[in-house]
């Protein structure tokens, strides 16, 4: 095979591979920055894990039914730096989460701000979210 052809193929392949990793976390591929949500409810479970944590919670709908939410957070290192600890989370406690709803999954959200029952507020966002000032 000609040298040039191989090199062109390799270069094309490299360019193709760059596409998915462009946005680092591809916030835009999974979450809708035009759909901010504020979730007031109770914590079911907190997965304090790398590389991203997950808050499982339930909110009460106006018609009385409960809706289950899965909220993506940053990892333990980032949350620790903001002052959060794994022990701050207990099942059944009241939580308020602000974030952005998932595109394909309406029960999914990318978390930006967490407010605990004692009023303490924390930034729990990941890299790649919209520039909404939540991290200040």
């Amino acid at each position: 095979m000609k040298t040039k052809t191989i090199l062109v193929l390799l270069a094309a392949g490299a360019l193709w591979a760059v596409q998915p990793v462009q946005a680092h976390h591809a916030f835009a591929a999974e979450y809708d920055s035009k759909k901010p949500v504020t979730l007031q409810g109770t914590l079911t479970k907190m997965e304090w894990v790398n590389p991203h944590g997950w808050i499982y919670m339930e909110t009460k709908q106006p018609d009385g039914t409960t809706k289950k939410w899965t909220v993506e957070t940053s990892g333990p290192n980032q949350m620790s730096r903001r002052g959060l600890k794994k022990t701050d989370f207990t099942a059944g406690m009241a939580v308020t989460v602000k974030g952005y709803q998932g595109i394909k999954d309406p029960g999914l959200a990318n978390g930006r701000t967490l407010v605990l029952a004692d009023g303490r507020s924390f930034y729990i966002g990941s890299v790649g979210g919209p520039n909404d000032g939540a991290d200040r």
């Binding site: 191989i6 894990v49 790398n50 333990p76």
Partner: protein, 166 residues
């Protein structure tokens, strides 16, 4: 066939896997070491494969390049596999359900088979054709397949981070 899920749950529940999974520094360090050693290994494999397909370093005999590169390639592959195993074993259920993880493992197996097959067959006769820049047709094929497979391993490894199919 019995489910493997209970076994994975047991592994997830172990103190040491939990500690790494929930760590501030442990997981980031292991993951960074995985990327660094993989990059080191892959770069050297690409050098070898470019020589195999006859595109680069053609003034050197194939056997010379292989002999010189091999220890360095292994010094990248071993930590890469060790850290890779560590990464998935501390969060087994997450990776079990990730289609890109399985794609990566399958491609990794194919890349290994391709390398072993080449070394045990075509490479044995490299003394005869190894100085020819064009080498042997089977060697060029092995090199091209190797490039494609390792490239795909890397891409699928990176895509594990995305929940596109969960």
């Amino acid at each position: 066939m019995p489910s493997i899920i209970p076994a994975l749950q047991w592994i997830e529940g172990l103190a040491w896997t939990t500690a790494i999974r929930e760590s501030n520094w442990g997981h980031p360090i292991i993951e960074t070491a995985h990327v660094a050693s993989t990059v080191f290994f892959a770069g050297l494999v690409i050098v070898m494969d470019l020589r195999l397909v006859g595109v680069a370093f053609t003034d050197a005999p194939l056997t010379q390049i292989q002999r010189r590169l091999f220890p360095w390639q292994m010094s990248g592959l071993v930590p890469s596999m060790a850290t890779g195993l560590l990464l998935c074993i501390v969060d087994p259920l997450h990776y079990y359900g990730n289609v890109f993880f399985w794609a990566k493992l399958s491609l990794l197996a194919l890349a290994g088979i391709n390398a072993l097959a080449f070394h045990w067959t075509t490479y044995r006769t490299a003394g005869r054709w190894g100085e020819d820049p064009k080498g042997a047709a089977t060697a060029r094929r092995a090199g091209a397949v190797s490039l494609l497979l390792w490239f795909s391993v890397i891409v699928s490894g990176r895509l594990i981070a995305y929940n596109w199919f969960n």
